[in-house]
Amino acid sequence: MTEPAHGLDAKLALRRGALVLDVDMALPARGITALFGPSGAGKSTCLRAIAGLERDSAGRVSFGHEVWQDSAHRVFVPPHKRRLGYVFQEPSLFPHQSVVDNLDYGFRRAGRPAHLDREGMIDRFGLRALLDRRVGTLSGGERQRVSMVRALLSDPALLLFDEPLSALDASARADLLGCLERLHGALRAPMIYVSHNIDEVARLADHIVLLDGGHVVAQGSLQDTLTRVDLPPALGEALGSVIEGTVSAVDTHDQLVELAFPGGTLSLPHHDEKPGQSMRCRIAARDVVLARERQASTSALNQVACRVVGMADAGASSQCLVQLDASGTALLARITRRSWHALALAPGDEVWAQVKAVALGA
């Protein structure tokens, strides 16, 4: 199979009640791209329009070398010819079919492709024991697992996941997130993952498209985009650094692991990580405290030496965003303007960032 030269290009306009969607996005041909934004930003509508489920959207959508929609030339490829793997927020299984019939619905129509490891996927998602069950007897988490494998088995060229975890309880969510994370490396097709949960996004995504009020506010790699200082306030909680590193040590006595990344090391709570494995953590902008000197007596475990890159004033707010550089890794700190002045900070200054890092993964 040849790699498509480029991924998805979508330029779409659509009206849905109060929402006016007008987006222009270019997504890479590999990896997971998160479509992130507050509720009502138009994420799901955007995903539906990309799939061709919103017939009255106008614009142009192309994937690889295929043109899926070109309103100017009256081109519209119906969804069943786009080779999609769509997972809806509600599992939406066919209630008149058993689990195995649901799984095979797309698999059969794709011609039972030999390169798809049907049995392996059933095992990996823990569906072996459920195959003959009726859909109505499954739990919410089980249903969504079936729905995901059903989509994966249809041999999709593009995966579209619309908040697949948001209707689940915490344990089912953690369970499925683990499945998705393991899936990540094995994915041949790119995925667009809609979410309003930044931890989910930080854990899974490689790229991100930020949506607000029906418009694309920013798009790019996860780390670059989430450390920008010019994003609208609605996305403020999402701001922060996503750090990818390697587990360099495990301290079983204190139940901590050490994560080595280009800017230094961080101590994080230990779950079941093994030395040498790669791991992500997120440092939210609001969880960074700045100090001129390294603090000797503090309960903060993690202090990172940084250089101030710049400061963005959030207008009338009491707070400001400080861009930091930790030996090549960008960090963001949200501090009060009073602190900025009290510390007499300026670009180029050396500072210590006390951070509360949240390990992603469990």
């Binding site: 069943h80 809806f88 509600e90 209630p95």
Partner: protein, 227 residues
């Protein structure tokens, strides 16, 4: 004297044949119509739905009267059929089939319409994202999910056709083996003061109606659980 005379049996057979043919044809035609009503964004949806529902409120004699006018030698359809060298519709079995289809149309289309509507768009969207084309979606998703509605349609259409009287009176006449259905025969018996025979045939209708409703509840699977 046997319970049912030869003529009574003939009327019973004719009635069942008429109801069977009408039900089959109505399901065939009603399905696309109901599908269209359930999914079209067209502004013609409501007027068409109203026309389909008309026989619910229209007296059967009125429907029969207009059909007689339309199909008669002076009517538009009558003249067209004559010009094409085809036989006239009034007082024939074929005519009765067409008239009964119009008469029972809402009883078949409305349950189907409701069933298709209650499925919602989601299962069909899922199927299309899994690579199923329109016909594939209809037969593998919509029809199985609408099955209770299909059963209701068939039973109501059948039972309603079995019981019709006014339309037959107007355009069917009372020709043995052609248009003399059960309800006509009962009417004849009562007119002739043959209350016993009328009673036996009426019981037949009662049993058929009861059996139809029983079959409906037995053939309907329990509702599927939703997400």
């Amino acid at each position: 004297m046997s319970l049912l005379s030869g003529q009574d049996l003939q009327a019973l057979g004719l009635t069942l044949r008429l109801a069977g043919v009408v039900t089959a044809l109505l399901l065939l035609l009603g399905m696309p119509l109901a599908w269209w009503l359930a999914h079209t964004p067209s502004r013609w949806r409501r007027p068409v739905a109203a026309v389909v529902a008309l026989p619910l409120v229209l007296p059967p004699t009125v429907l029969g009267f207009y059909l007689l006018m339309l199909w008669g030698p002076g009517g538009l359809v009558g003249r067209t059929l004559a010009a094409l060298g085809l036989s006239a519709l009034p007082f024939t079995f074929q005519g009765l089939v067409v008239a009964s289809m119009l008469y029972s149309l809402p009883f078949v289309v409305q349950p189907l319409h409701n069933a298709f509507e209650s499925i919602g768009d989601r299962p069909l969207e899922v199927a299309s994202c899994l690579g199923a084309g329109p016909l594939d979606r209809f037969f593998t998703v919509a029809l199985p999910l609408a099955w209770p509605g299909v059963v209701t349609s068939a039973v109501l259409g059948f039972a309603h056709t079995v019981g019709e009287f006014g339309v037959v009176l107007m355009i069917g006449g009372n020709i043995p083996g052609q248009t003399r259905v059960l309800s006509m025969r009962i009417y004849d018996h009562v007119q002739a003061g043959e209350y016993h025979q009328a009673n036996v045939l009426s019981l037949c209708l009662l049993v058929i109606s009861f059996a139809a409703l029983l079959a409906m509840s037995l053939l309907r699977p329990r509702r599927y659980a939703r997400d």
